[in-house]
């Protein structure tokens, strides 16, 4: 089904993906492994006995060359063996997966909320162009962009936890019911965090949606659609939106990186045991192995999302030839 040009395009894109991941890992390794110097020394402190330091160094494989350690790490990444966390004494992979089970749903929930809010707001604003509705929505969007997500999170807590007591001020009960969690309690706990992340994203996306919709409304085929007897609403949703999605999706992809870093901050506000908090706790514990793998994971997620956005771009707009992208 896929023509030759499409296959070549996918191949090229995939190759770029791999190259970017490789470079990313190199940078992460360089910064977090080479720069700090002797990790064993740092972990045990300046007063530790030299034999203890040497023993730990051997255990951590620090007596191998930098190249060897790098390749060892990459090999581990591919096979799933990410080493052991010094602070937790547990395999890093397990830790990461556990934390991902919170961070990924949080990010997805936030993106979903943001997209829904932004599309509605953006389309509404475009349909009320030059009128109060447009100005109002865009004003709100400007404010939304300016608000720091962690401040909004705190305000939400002030309102919904302190004042109204509808939500807890933090914490996460877990997805499984035996640990006192479950689907609904977990979603309940993620509601405020997702909302605080979503608002800023929604504000940015709403502006893009609005200007994209306004651009498309000027096109001739919109007039054709109206001439066929379609109502304004039917034209907007059936003809305009699909065309307007292209710039919107592009921005959504670019914004995902911001969303992920936003989760780092927001997880700290709500004391959620996700990837973000893990990074922090590990920095405090000087557990650089965990930090290294966490950062790599986050960076890899961003790169992967950008890759997917590139593909989506070609899927949404049939005019885009594989050679163009």
């Amino acid at each position: 089904m896929l023509c030759a040009a499409m296959r070549l395009f996918l191949l090229k894109r995939f190759a770029t993906l791999l190259a970017t991941l490789a470079c990313t890992s190199a940078v992460v390794f360089l910064v977090l492994e080479i720069l700090p110097g002797n990790a064993a020394q740092t972990l045990l402190g300046p007063d530790a006995a030299p034999e203890a330091v040497a023993a730990l160094a051997a255990q951590l494989g620090l007596n191998q060359s930098a190249w060897q350690r790098y390749l060892h790490w990459i090999g581990g990444l591919l096979t799933g063996d990410l080493g052991e966390s010094y602070a937790y004494g547990a395999p890093v992979l397990g830790l990461l997966l556990e934390r991902l089970a919170l961070t990924v749903p949080l990010a997805l929930l936030a993106m979903l909320l943001a997209t829904a809010m932004a599309l509605c707001a953006g389309v509404y604003a475009a349909s009320r162009h030059h009128r109060l509705g447009d100005v109002g929505v865009m004003g709100l969007a400007q404010i939304g962009i300016a608000i720091p997500n962690f401040w909004f999170a705190i305000l939400l807590i002030l309102l919904f936890s302190v004042k109204l007591q509808w939500f807890a001020a933090g914490g996460f009960p877990g997805w499984s019911e035996d640990a006192g969690g479950g689907l609904w309690p977990a979603l309940h706990a993620l509601a405020l965090p997702a909302l605080s992340l979503a608002v800023v994203q929604a504000a940015i996306l709403a502006r893009i949606t609005r200007s994209a919709v306004l651009e498309v409304l000027r096109e001739d085929f919109v007039r054709t659609a109206r001439a066929k007897g379609l109502s304004r609403r039917a034209t907007l949703w059936g003809h305009v939106l699909r065309n307007a999605m292209v710039p919107v999706v592009t921005v959504m992809g670019l914004q995902f990186a911001n969303l992920l870093t936003g989760t780092i901050v927001v997880e700290n506000v709500f004391y959620l045991p996700g990837l973000g908090r893990l990074i922090f706790q590990s920095i405090a514990n000087r557990d650089l192995i965990v930090v290294r793998n966490c950062v790599m994971l986050l960076a890899a997620m961003v790169v992967a999302v950008n890759f997917v956005v590139d593909l989506l771009y070609a899927a949404i707009d049939p005019r885009v030839q594989p050679a163009d992208v």
Binding site: E219, F221, T224, A225, A227, K228, L230, R319
Partner: protein, 322 residues
């Protein structure tokens, strides 16, 4: 079937509201063909858009447009939606941008059928393929899945015609349907429209700035200038006995094959340019540019003078052209 009386359209411009269409009257019988000719900015496209209720934002139309006895001006948008694409259909000038690039053409041609005839998707698509075949798209069944960018300009115009005909409208409005196409393709498209109009007994309102197009395709014609109809009548009659100075000027300005200009000769033109909407004279719109202008032409709006046989002219000095 279609009666337009005293149609005035005001447009918002940078200098306030300006009158773009000033008292246009005409009728169109079932199955009749009418041409509207004039240069850019004379109001012909606006008149057509007013029929569909698709005037630009801020425009105001007054007067009367009666379609099959029903008054169209002032109707709610919802009521007009039932007519658009259904009883009155329109084909526009720019085929390259008239179709939505992200939907297959079969889907777009079938849309009026899904909307107005409540056909299911599959049924509507079958009907769409039949239409595409009729307008001359080869291999219609397979190509219905293709996207607009995969077709040439002429083919896209055929597709928009198919789209317009889908629900069997009583009136087809074609606004400069061939202006953006190559000369050879123009003839094909016009011939197609002719065939379809005859076949289905539709009425046709054909708008153009090209005298040749009007001459060959419509039974009656209106000449517009500065928002008013300056001359109207059966095509043959107007061509053989044109009375308005503007019509004469238009006719004279046509470059003719086989009659090359001698050295030092120039194509005759109409002196001056079309004034901005807000600057049109209060009287006859052609006052000032007309070689026979008198003082009163600037202030008095000419009434229609009936010449004979349905041939009318709006001029204060029709005898000057006799």
């Amino acid at each position: 079937m279609l009666e337009v009386s005293d149609l005035h359209i005001h447009l918002p411009t940078r200098r306030g509201m300006a009158e773009a269409v000033r008292g246009v009257d005409f009728t169109l019988a079932r199955g009749g063909t009418l041409g509207l000719i004039g240069e850019s900015g004379c109001g012909k496209s606006l008149t057509a858009l007013a029929l569909m209720g698709l005037l630009p934002e801020g425009a105001r139309a007054t007067g009367s447009i009666r379609f099959e006895g029903q008054e169209l001006l002032g109707q709610s948008d919802r009521a007009l939606q039932r007519l658009r694409g259904n009883r009155i259909a329109m084909v526009f000038q720019e085929p390259m941008t008239a179709l939505n690039p992200v939907h297959p053409i079969g889907h777009q041609v079938a849309e009026p059928l899904r909307l107005h005839r409540s056909l299911g998707a599959a049924e509507a698509l079958r009907a769409a393929v039949a239409l595409l075949d009729r307008v001359g798209i080869p291999d219609a069944a397979r190509r219905a899945r293709d996207y607009p960018h995969q077709f040439s300009g002429g083919q896209r115009q055929r597709i928009t015609i198919a789209m317009a005909l889908a629900c069997g409208p009583d009136l087809l409005v074609a606004d400069e349907p061939t202006t953006a196409l190559d000369a050879t393709v123009q003839r094909q498209i016009l011939r197609l429209i002719q065939e379809l109009v005859a076949e289905r007994g539709m009425a046709l309102l054909l708008i153009s700035h090209d005298l040749g197009v009007i001459a060959q395709n419509v039974g009656r014609m209106l000449v517009m200038y500065g928002g008013s109809v300056v001359e109207s009548g059966p095509t043959a009659e107007v061509f053989s006995a044109m009375r308005h100075p503007y019509t004469r000027g238009l006719f004279a300005a046509r470059p003719r094959l086989g009659q090359p200009l001698g050295p030092g000769q120039r194509l005759p033109t109409i002196a001056g340019t079309v004034p901005e909407l807000a600057d049109l004279p209060a009287g006859c719109p052609f006052a000032g540019r007309c070689a026979w202008t008198q003082q009163r032409c600037h202030t008095e709006r000419p009434e229609a003078t009936v010449l004979h046989d349905g041939h009318e002219v709006r001029c204060l000095r029709p005898e000057a052209m006799a």
